[in-house]
């Protein structure tokens, strides 16, 4: 891993079109500005990891779950 030291106001250029700027360092947090092409996805690591884990868990079902779930939902619907 490349490790660089930056101060507030300084930046990093990645490739031809990604620019990262350190906006502010305050109270243990660092505000970062990211300029990247619109087609490039930028996500906070923990948010991405959480979704990945949720998707993994979402594959752990069986037909009995689907059947029970369907019954539950259709009973709810008949109310309306």
């Amino acid at each position: 891993m490349l490790v660089l030291t930056r101060k507030a106001g300084e930046g990093i250029i990645i490739g031809d079109d990604v620019k990262i700027t350190i906006i502010e360092v305050k109270g243990g947090g660092i505000r970062i500005g990211i300029d990247a092409p619109r087609d490039m996805k930028v996500h906070r690591q923990e948010v991405y990891d959480k979704i990945k884990q949720e998707n993994q868990e979402a594959t752990q079902w069986d037909m009995a779950d689907l059947s029970a779930l369907s019954n539950m939902m259709s009973s709810g619907r008949k109310q309306s």
């Binding site: 619109r38 087609d39 996805k41 996500h43 906070r44 948010v47 991405y48 959480k50 979704i51 990945k52 884990q53 949720e54 998707n55 993994q56 868990e57 979402a58 594959t59 752990q60 079902w61 069986d62 037909m63 779950d65 689907l66 059947s67 029970a68 779930l69 369907s70 019954n71 539950m72 939902m73 259709s74 009973s75 709810g76 619907r77 008949k78 109310q79």
Partner: protein, 145 residues
């Protein structure tokens, strides 16, 4: 017609009508093509099976049946990936998780955008949303007999 093995047995499908995820799902980026399987029972649920990985199947549903104020509008990048224009239909679908304790949640933080025109779908992460990846299904009242 082609055949694949799944956790639920052999599935026959038409390769021309698979649902295409140009970016895969998050954590499953290599799995691009899924067979859409109708639920045997009535209701808003269906499931998709990867044509490449027998283990990868997801239960999906329409979140707007439960959360009327839930709206996701695809941005320019997403429309381009879906191959649609601003006027084309784009539906929101949620991935359903059944926990080992059999509690049921919907992932409203990372919905799937579906474009019927191109049969493509994209899972997007909503940044800064108040919706949880583990949103419990609203309580349903028992059927009155």
């Amino acid at each position: 017609m082609k055949k694949i093995q799944s956790r639920f047995g052999e599935i026959e499908y038409d390769p021309a009508s698979t649902l295409n995820f140009p970016e895969g799902l998050i954590g499953f980026e290599d799995l691009r093509d899924f067979v859409v399987m109708p639920n045997e029972k009535d209701g808003p649920l269906f499931w998709i099976q990867s044509v490449d990985d027998p283990q990868a199947a997801f239960i999906l549903t329409s979140p707007t049946d439960f959360f009327y104020d839930y709206k996701v509008i695809p941005d320019g990048r997403e429309r381009q990936k879906l191959g649609i224009g601003e006027q084309d239909d784009c539906f929101i679908i949620s991935v359903v998780t059944v926990s080992p304790e059999h509690t049921i949640t919907m992932n409203l933080a990372a919905p799937v955008l579906f474009a019927p025109k191109t049969n493509r779908a994209l899972q997007v992460i909503l940044e800064g949303t108040q919706f949880s990846p583990r949103t419990p299904l609203p309580e349903v009242a028992p059927v009155q007999k």
